[in-house]
Amino acid sequence: MRPALLIGLAIAGVTVTVVAAVNVQFGLAFLPTGTEPDLGPVFADAVWIACGLLAIWRRPHNAVGPLVLTLGFVDMISLTSWDEALPSTVVALVSAFVIPLVVHLFVAFPSGRLTTRPQRALVAFGYGAAAVLGPLGLITSGSATDCPACPPNLLRIEGAQGAADAVSLVGSVLIVVVLAAAIAMTVARWRRATGATRRALGPVVVLAGIGTATLVAVVVLEQVGLVDLSRWVANIGGIIYVAIPIVFAVGLLRTRLHRGAVADLVLELDAHPGAPELRDAVARALGDPSVELGFWLPDEHRYVTGDGQPFEPAPRAGPSASALTTIERNGERLAVLVHDPGIDGGLVQAVGAAASMAIANARLQAALVAQLAEVRASRTRIVQAGDQERRRIERDLHDGAQQRLLGVRLALRLAQSRLEDGNVQTASDVLGEADAAVVDAIEELRALARGIHPPILTEEGLGPALSALAGRAPVPIDLSIDAGRLPPAVEATCYFVAAEATANIVKHATATRARIDVDVADGVVTLVVADDGIGGADIEGAGLRGLRDRVEAVAGRFQVDSPAVGGTRVSAWIPCG
């Protein structure tokens, strides 16, 4: 908030107060007969304006200040009366907004924000009703002759007299309803709130309670004829009216005291705290023990806690409501704070700014821890995948080639005994069966060996190996390979990814075509295996997880795009020196 604007607002406040005081004291136009000019409300509104200015000065980012100030101005204007139709009309139209502003203030205090849908709906309804009922009241207020006591206005339509009473009744009912709703919401919020919100709302709730009781008492006392007592009680109402902006301003400024805590925080952070101590220090500075701190990992587009665990920040509703504030440094996102929504946004920003250097350091630490945890997890998975692969090979050997060779040995012994018996024909038949079993065993061993490590990959490189892979696949595969010989680990990883992705296409995708693209640029191999199948691959399944581990083990990046329609696309980017 620029000082010039603040000074301008202060001058405007003084001017309006003086004009209103003069108007009320000496204007005397259309005052109902027998009414004494009363400067009390003028001074009460001056208090509102002053409190609004104070709140704006100290808490420039909070909407409560402007609301208090506006309410002071609007109510001050509504106190004046004019002979000319134009100012009189303006005053009448502006006056209708006093009640919606009160509602807005109660509902938005102390954060200045409307956070729930019912809150926004109530405030919008209040402003909407004022915008409609204000002009409608003027239109229907009847002619000057019908209503000599009515102030002149530009919207008056002759002949609509009488309807004004109905509009006025509707307006009165709506005022009671929206005020009651605002107070009920505030009390409910106070009952649920903890920490800063509860501390700020307490006095507001007390004042609202006394104010309501006073209003009811005044009405009841007037009804039973105790007019003097009623006037006396009404004076209490006047005091309450003055007290309200003070309570709002004090409630708002109390968080100002916490700025001392920001200074303490800066000192604490000088000791270079780790992530847990950092969170505790921030929680102390905000006066909110429930504060959570999530560090942003820009490469992985996710948050982690200080010890590297995944962190999903979500604003909570209900009894333990929370708000999210993103902490940035030089336009770069560092972390997110999950905190009590009642804490002033400016204070959160101040704490975030004070802690941003320490948060940047702690984030690096958290990123390292997260990376280490991921490396450990992937190392375990790679070892497990290796063990599983060895078990599979043992089973394949045992169930396949070994069984066939055992059968062959039995067959040879059988043939031998037949030959010894002189039964040449039977021996020949058995040898024929044995030969077929040997052929099967050889083919099985060949396939198994190729699955472990295809010799063509070692001898001729990735291109010919992928051609052979595509040639064996039952689905037509288009190849586009633009790569010479690459380091063995890179070739093996690319081949493994392509082979596994191809196997998945054959098994799951129900694709009619697939393609494999390999391209080398700027020291990075890009491998893409895409199909036109049904998509919806299980990205977190063991197979694709294993591919990711394998690619990341050679410092590569792995991605699977598998929408519900449009096929699956497996991509790997592997640095190749």
Partner: protein, 145 residues
């Protein structure tokens, strides 16, 4: 004492030694082969029958082996240790609980030492490595009991 599980084709043999008993040299062994590899079953049947044994049936897993024993009442069950459902040791234990249990001979392509103590503790009569299988080896084991 007549034992039906010695096989149907010896019921009529009676001489001065009285009715034949199980494992009597005059009695042909009746064998059920239990193995999940069809190729092995095929060649094993050929080899055993060439030696004069009677292969009365084949089964491919533990459950069908139990059913086949109940239906065919073989004298000997040649039982693969590694089956798709139960393992051979469990099948052997179930067979040993029958009122008139068949003689169970375990077999595997693995070395018997790979099974450690389980083989010694097993209710089976013995173990023949698959590549050592012959009618004579099976008869020797059965007779040794």
């Amino acid at each position: 004492m007549w034992e039906a599980n010695c096989g149907a084709d010896v019921r009529d043999v009676t001489d001065e030694f009285g009715p034949p008993r199980c494992h009597d040299p005059r009695v042909t062994l009746t064998v059920l082969i239990v193995d999940d590899h069809a190729g092995f079953r095929h060649f094993a049947r050929g080899l055993l029958e060439a030696t004069g044994l009677s292969v009365v049936g084949e089964a491919e897993d533990g459950r069908s082996a139990l059913d086949a024993v109940a239906a065919l009442r073989p004298g000997v069950v040649l039982l693969d240790v590694m089956l798709p459902d139960f393992d051979g040791f469990a099948v052997a234990d179930r067979l040993a609980e029958l009122p008139q249990p068949p003689t169970v001979v375990l077999t595997s392509s693995r070395d018997p030492r790979d099974f450690g103590e389980r083989l010694a503790r097993s209710t089976a009569r013995g173990f023949i490595r698959k590549d050592d299988l012959s009618g004579a080896a099976l008869e020797r084991l059965v007779a040794a009991g």
